[in-house]
Each structure stands twice: as structure tokens, then as C-alpha cells.
Subunit: 343 residues, 2 copies
């Protein structure tokens, strides 16, 4: 049996936390995995030094995961083609806007029989349709692609705080391989087949978190917030089953990628926080993004808008009252109280 | 069609909040419900006045729901038999230890064809078996009994804060009647058939909340807490389906009585709070009950013990690692860290 060669594409906060796990895990199965884990790192200069050199010499990603030692067998590679050359297992953990360009550059470099997994949150929703990032990766590279998502704040995972995550993978055999790549005592993996549901949850939860933030902003208490979370979970499921059919399983919403991630996102998280401030201050979202997020775009409001356009095209807006209400509060000046009146 | 006569048995915090809803709701359907709602109130003297007189004159339960006006058609009755005479719809909302005695006294007073609903949290778990309070009521009074449970903190409901609740009722026809009795814009009712699951959730959630409190006490963050909540939800479901079979539906755990109530209970709530203090202070639970709960018994630890004895009798303790771990931390001196190590 030839060894699996693991390559991680991406080196941000989450990519670094995952690199720590994978670097350790490959040693547990030396007959299955090559001991070297290559990580493609977008080269940056940090105090006159290359980030890849810092990672390879000091075994720490000082920019994105400061203070957490990385396993010495995680090797940072600045060139994408060098990084993924002959890889058999490719982990995509980078911002979604780079996926297509990166995949195009990787074409022809992977080992035959390579498989991928997407840790990218979100999915593309346009008026004409939806597209999962796992499917985009699969399409461009012509390899199978699974998905991983769960209640996984990167810094907590890096500090080995117990949590769970869900892998959606059609092939049972590949699912077992991915389980070995990711599972630890503190990062517990459930493998299911429903890769679609896994990715949908990661995207749609952010709309619900905006709704939960409105409730917090109005000071409505924990009954109300729990009701919004539950109604949101039900709309996430309905969205999946309406537009993806039987591929999306009820059970997925009980997994870490479903209920658990939604709970975390609605209790902490930037979407909740900015939405709370939106109600309390009356400032527009764009201004709050500047003030609270250093100008980064809020995911939940963006997704609410994309979902709204998509549902408008299908003439199905009223079928998803919570998603619609979040949209109307953010973009059409509806009163925040609508979050408990119109859902 | 003869009118339904509604009687509420109990007048605590939750009973009073519910009396407010029901008193208003009966007016919406004057051809179905008698306009008078009788409420059995355990007589107490408040500043030299009878509590029933205060409720009937001032329309406020000054002891258990101060500051919330009650509808004038809610009539407090100190005598149990007077209160329930010829009632057709009986709402049980009183501490569980009184259920049997009260039901025995009510025998023969209700209208033929009467139906009941239990708002009593918890169920009886002994080494030899489990018993739902709805079934006890049904058995003693020989009438059908539904159950209501959800993410419903009484004070928030009394202040008309939006939330949801779940009614489990085998008969579709009776379910529609109960929906009319309880549903409002701010207290939204879903009726399902699974009255067993509804009641199981209300009891078992408290064990999970103790586990969530341990996680808070250890400062483990929101990923970990979300994982404990999710694992707990799965053990609640497994418990139901193992010991009650197909009666307990997957879908029930997506209802307000399931996910939503669990979220509320694990975010606020006394079980979570005392468990957090248990870890932080190292004091025994009994001492914390004295200090934090005025000597009242904590439900979650008691239920953990009952479930442990029940599972021991079935030789199935290891099948429920979260319930078991909570038990061992509270009663056997296991380290609180077991909550993330042994589940």
C-alpha cells in the first residue's frame, strides 16, 4: 500500500489549527501516511523574514496562530505547485474567493487518485442557483471532494479545547481516511454522507445568527433567542430539502455542523454581535463593519441578501419567513421587532 | 355544541403566566369555550388577605407573578373540588410531588369526556421503571392526558416575550382544542403526537445543563459547550428510543421542547449555574443548594442519580456516557474534566 501524501492549501487561523492536528495525526498511522505534511503558505514578510521560513524554522505561524507550536513535520511551501505535487489528500482551507484560481493552478499536479476535502465555509448562492465549493473543487480538479464543518472556533481548537466536527463524504472508504486525518480526542469527528447538508449549514447559520443578534439587541431574553435559533434551524433544513432534495438528510442537522455550530454562532460570533449593535445603535451595517470588523464584510447579511435574490427568482420568499425578515430588517428598513412578529 | 369549561390546577409562577394566556384565549372562541376560567389556588394569607381574594379582586397573583395583570375572567377557587367541578379541559401545572394526591381528590368531579394536559416538568424514574406524569393523571382520572413543554421561562412568557412551546397529544382533535387554549402570537404552539418525547425532554435536559455548567466552570468556551449540548441531545433521544421505542420520534427533538428548551436551559438556568459554581468553588452540591437556591433541590443532579440507578438496573450505564459522567462528577468525586474526557 503506497503512502498517502497530505497537502494543506491555506495557512490562516483555521488552516494553522488544522495543520497542528494533521501533523500529529499522520504519525499515528505511519504505514498509511507519509510523515511530511506540506502546507501551501501565501508568502508574506514578517519583520523582514519570510513567513514560510519562520514556520519551518520556529514551527509557529506567528501571523495567524501566534503562540501555538506546530508539529515539525508540517512544512510550509510558498509555491503552490511545489506544495501539492503528487499529493493524494488535499485539504482546502482558504477564503472562498480564491478557490477557483487556486484550483486552476493546481491542475495536473496532484497524484492520480487524489481526493480533496473542503473546509471552506459558505456556498455560492446566485439568483440562478447554488454551488457548493466542494463541487467546484471536484469539477475543476476532477477528483472527489468531501466537506468538513462544525462548531469549531479556530483558537479554541488550537488550544485543544474539546469539540466535535462533521465530515460529509459520499465514499465510505474515503470517509475513513479523512477520519484518521482529522480525528483526535479533543477534535471529535463524525463522518456522514451528506456533504451538501454539511456545507449548507455552514453558510445559512450566519443568517440565523443575525436574527439572534437582533433579539439580543432588543433585550428579548433566552426563550426568544432559543425560538429564533430553532426556527432558523428548521428553515436551514427546509432550504436544503427544497433545493437539494433527499441528498440533505434530517440527521445532518443534529450533527456538530448543524445544531452545535448554530448554537456557537448564535451565542458568540461576529454576525450576532454586529446585529446586536445594529439594533442598539441604529447605525448602518456598513458603518458597523468598519467600526467593529476593521471593514471586513459580515457574512450573515451578505448571505441573507444572496438567499433573498435566489428565493425571489423561485417565487418562494414567503416560505422562509426568518430568512426574509432578516433581509428586510437589514436592507429594507423593517423594524427589528419584525424578527419576532413576522417569523 | 356544548361549551368547554377550562380549569387550571395550580397557581405558581408558571400557572399564573398560563392563566393569563388562557383567560384571554377563551374569548377568541366564545362558541367553543365558557368565558370563565377557574383556577385552583392553594390558599395562603398575604398581609392578612387571602390570596384567592386578592386574585379575584385585584386580578394579580401578588405572590407568584407580581406586576402582571390577570384577565378578569380567571377566577381563583380555593377548594379543589369546586374548582374542577364539571370541567371539560383540565390543565395540570403544579409541583410533581402533589400530582397523585390532587388527582385522587378530583376523582368523580370532572365532566364526562373531560381531557387533561400536563405542564409538569420531569418524569418519575425509579430503578424499576419510568412513569410519565401525563400517564399517571390519565390512569387515576381515567381521561386522556396530553403534555406541554418548551423553552418557556414563566416570567418571559408573562411579559409576552416571543417564544414557542410544544404540545404532545395523541388525538388530533384534542390537539386542535389545546392549540386554541394555549396558542397566541407570542406563545406559539406546535402540536405533535409524541407526548412521551415532550415529557422526556423536559426531564433529561436538566442533566445536560449540569454538564454544560461544568464546562462553563472549567472555562472551556463555546465550542465545547455546544458539543456537550449536542451530545446531550443525542443521549436524550437515545434514552427515549431505547426505553419507549417508536413512540419517541426524531422530530420531537427539533421542537421547542427539544433543542430550544435545551439551549435555554444550558445558557441560563439554575442547573447550569449551580454546576458552574460546583467546579469553581469546590463546594458540595447540597451546600450550593442552600447558598444559591434557598435550599431547594437541584433537578438536574437528582435526575442524573435517578437515571443512573435506572440504567444500572438495565446494565446500560456505558451506553449513556454523558449522563454517566455527570453522575460520577456529582456523586462519585470524578474530576470535572471528565465532562470532556469521558463523554
Amino acid at each position: 500500500m503506497s503512502l498517502e501524501h497530505v497537502c494543506i492549501i491555506g495557512s490562516g487561523n483555521w488552516g494553522s489549527a488544522i495543520a497542528k492536528i494533521i501533523g500529529n495525526n499522520v504519525h499515528k498511522y505511519p504505514q498509511q501516511f507519509s510523515p511530511t505534511v506540506r502546507q501551501w503558505v501565501f508568502e508574506e514578510m514578517i519583520d523582514g523574514k519570510k513567513l514560510t521560513d519562520i514556520i519551518n524554522n520556529d514551527h509557529e505561524n506567528v501571523k495567524y496562530l501566534k503562540g501555538v507550536p506546530l508539529p515539525v513535520n508540517v512544512v510550509a511551501v510558498p509555491d503552490l505547485v511545489d506544495a501539492c505535487k503528487d499529493a493524494t489528500l488535499v485539504i482546502f482551507v482558504l477564503p472562498h474567493q480564491f478557490v477557483r484560481g487556486i484550483c486552476e493552478k493546481m491542475k495536473g499536479s496532484l497524484s492520480p487518485g487524489a481526493r480533496a476535502i473542503s473546509l471552506i465555509k459558505g456556498l455560492e448562492i446566485t439568483p440562478s442557483g447554488t454551488r457548493l465549493f466542494s463541487e467546484e473543487i471536484s469539477r475543476i480538479l476532477d477528483i472527489p471532494c468531501a466537506a468538513l464543518s462544525g462548531a469549531n472556533i479556530a483558537d479554541e481548537v488550537a488550544r485543544e479545547r474539546f469539540c466535535e466536527s462533521t465530515i460529509g463524504c459520499e465514499s465510505v472508504e474515503d470517509g475513513q481516511v479523512w477520519h484518521r486525518v482529522f480525528h483526535t480526542d479533543y477534535f471529535r469527528i463524525n463522518v456522514i454522507k451528506d456533504y451538501t447538508g454539511v456545507q449548507l449549514c455552514g453558510a445559512l447559520k450566519n443568517i440565523v445568527a443575525v436574527g439572534a443578534g437582533f433579539s439580543d439587541g432588543l433585550g428579548l431574553g433566552s426563550n426568544t433567542k432559543a425560538a429564533i435559533i430553532r426556527l432558523g434551524l428548521m428553515e436551514m433544513r427546509k432550504f436544503g430539502q427544497t433545493f437539494f432534495g433527499d441528498m440533505v438528510q434530517n440527521e445532518t442537522f443534529f450533527e456538530s455542523c448543524g445544531t452545535a455550530d448554530l448554537i456557537t454562532t448564535c451565542s458568540g460570533g461576529r454576525n450576532r454581535k454586529v446585529a446586536e449593535a445594529f439594533v442598539k445603535t441604529g447605525k448602518p451595517i456598513a458603518q458597523l463593519e468598519t467600526e467593529l470588523l476593521n471593514g471586513q464584510k459580515l457574512q450573515g447579511t451578505l448571505t441573507a441578501q444572496e438567499v433573498h435574490e435566489f428565493l425571489t427568482g423561485k417565487d418562494m420568499v414567503p416560505e422562509f419567513p426568518l430568512f426574509d425578515t432578516v433581509y428586510r430588517i437589514v436592507y429594507e428598513g423593517a423594524s427589528p421587532e419584525a424578527i419576532v412578529r413576522d417569523v
